[in-house]
């Protein structure tokens, strides 16, 4: 019972709103720092790849974007599960706030993959399992956004969208393991915690870029979540207080 109480408190917009506001600058700063470091290592220091030439440098955004697209989906599904189980107001808002960023990440994964595929495989697009399942992921994001946009009642929109997220979650392991399960053109996983097949600088560059994408996604999603909170809770006292404070700030 006590646990649940805490969860409710944490998941209440009243506590979350100022917390998010305070955290955003830090995430932005971290994102910039990681990004600069990653770019420095990846673009300036790392040597060429003996098979793929300089084209391989696309990896520094392709892989982080691909990871984030899957990860954000998992986080949304997690929020959805919490929302459906405990009926917390915050979960729907968070899923809602994450979706556009996730969709953009999926798009970036496809875009950079396509730009990589042309020189490596000779085609912008091939219909192999990983590419296809990533495309499905993009469609799932869009489907989620379209579904929630089509339902005006926010409570119902959250629940229906959450259910869709949970149903679609089977796709994520398919993306991830597709290279193992099927014989595909796309290259297998080369980042492995125990032994890595990549050159050290490359690996570090990629990990730094991944951190950069991660922090970026958190920052943007929190910003969006704050807006959504104001909009949805506009009739509550705390929002009115926030708005009043905000206009004083503007007056100064």
């Amino acid at each position: 019972m006590k646990d649940r109480f805490n969860l409710y408190r944490f998941a209440s917009p009243v506590t979350f709103y100022p917390l998010a506001g305070a955290l955003i600058p830090w995430f932005v700063a971290l994102s910039v720092v990681f990004g600069l470091a990653g770019l420095y290592l990846g673009m300036l220091v790392a040597p060429t790849d003996f098979q793929q030439g300089e084209g391989y440098r696309i990896i520094f955004i392709h892989v982080p974007a691909s990871w984030m697209s899957m990860f954000i989906y998992l986080v949304m599904a997690g929020w959805a599960a919490i929302g459906l189980a405990f009926n917390t107001r915050l979960s729907g808002m968070m899923a809602h706030a994450l979706a556009p960023t996730g969709a953009l990440m999926a798009f970036l994964s496809l875009w950079t993959g396509a730009l990589w595929g042309k020189p490596m495989w000779g085609a912008w697009w091939v219909w192999d399992a990983r590419l296809t399942s990533e495309l499905i992921l993009l469609f799932l994001y869009i489907g989620y956004m379209a579904l929630t946009a089509a339902i005006d009642d926010t409570k119902r929109a959250d629940k229906a969208g959450g259910l869709l997220l949970l149903v679609g979650v089977v796709n994520v392991p398919i993306i991830y393991f597709s290279v193992k399960w099927w014989n595909t053109l796309h290259q297998g996983s080369s980042v492995n915690l125990t032994k890595s097949s990549m050159a050290q600088t490359m690996l570090w560059g990629m990990l730094l870029m991944a951190m950069c994408f991660w922090m970026y996604s958190i920052a943007v999603a929190l910003m969006r979540a704050r807006t959504i909170m104001l909009e949805r809770e506009r009739n509550t006292d705390w929002v009115k207080a926030v708005l009043a404070e905000n206009s004083e700030g503007a007056a100064k």
Partner: protein, 222 residues
């Protein structure tokens, strides 16, 4: 006369905007159907290039068709159609407005997105231009002919599928000339002939379809 047409268009566009999902979804249906084929058929670029015009046109047909049942159904269900039929101007004009709005919402976006999909199938620039032109020219005919089918099947419970049964055969000429124009361009023959036939079909159906639909609607309202 023009006033009533524009006010019908205005209302329908406003409703479409209010729902948003409508416009986006028709386009995405198109995109998804087109993307399904390579999945079912396999990824050979040569094969895909040959398929492209046919697949794109069939998908355009289906996307248009899918949005047809709702052309009159919403108005019928909530009683607006009765009111429109009782308004002091010919029902054909109202239907003209609705057909134009339908095209703006479902046909035009297809034409705009088609070139992007064409690239997936590795089409040349020439072919892409002809493809876009053909879809621009042909989709108004699809909306017009579709309106007749939608009016005829209005209020029948099996509507959606029955509608496709009525309408798809009538769409075949549009399909043949539309895909033919692109094919001809790809093989270097020039698609003008096909395109002008397409234009002829469109004009004929836009002139005739609203009145036929209006007659069908009156029957449905008895």
């Amino acid at each position: 006369m023009l006033k009533i047409i524009t006010s019908v268009i205005g209302r329908d566009l406003k409703l479409a905007m209010r729902r948003q999902a409508d416009i986006v979804s028709a386009v995405f249906f198109f995109v998804i159907v087109v993307s399904l084929f390579p999945l079912g058929i396999g990824p050979e670029p040569d094969l895909l290039r040959k398929l492209a015009p046919g697949v794109l046109w069939v998908a355009a047909l289906l996307a248009t068709m899918l949005s047809l049942p709702r052309l009159f159904a919403d108005d019928h269900r909530d009683g607006t159609l009765e009111q429109l039929a009782l308004a002091p101007h010919p029902l054909g004009l109202v239907v003209t407005g609705k057909v134009i709005a339908h095209w703006l919402v479902s046909g035009l976006p297809l034409a705009l997105i088609a070139p992007v999909l064409g690239i997936q199938f590795d089409l040349s620039t020439d072919a892409l231009i002809v493809l876009t032109g053909a879809i621009l020219l042909g989709t108004p005919a699809l909306s017009g002919i579709g309106a007749i089918g939608a009016a005829l099947t209005l209020g029948l419970r099996g509507g959606g599928v029955l509608l496709s049964l009525l309408v798809l055969p009538l769409y075949i000429p549009v399909l043949i000339f539309g895909a033919g124009a692109v094919d001809a361009t790809v093989s270097g023959l020039g698609g003008e002939g096909h395109l002008s036939l397409l234009a002829a079909i469109t004009f004929a159906s836009l002139g005739f379809a609203p009145w036929a639909s209006a007659a069908a609607l009156k029957i449905a309202l008895e």
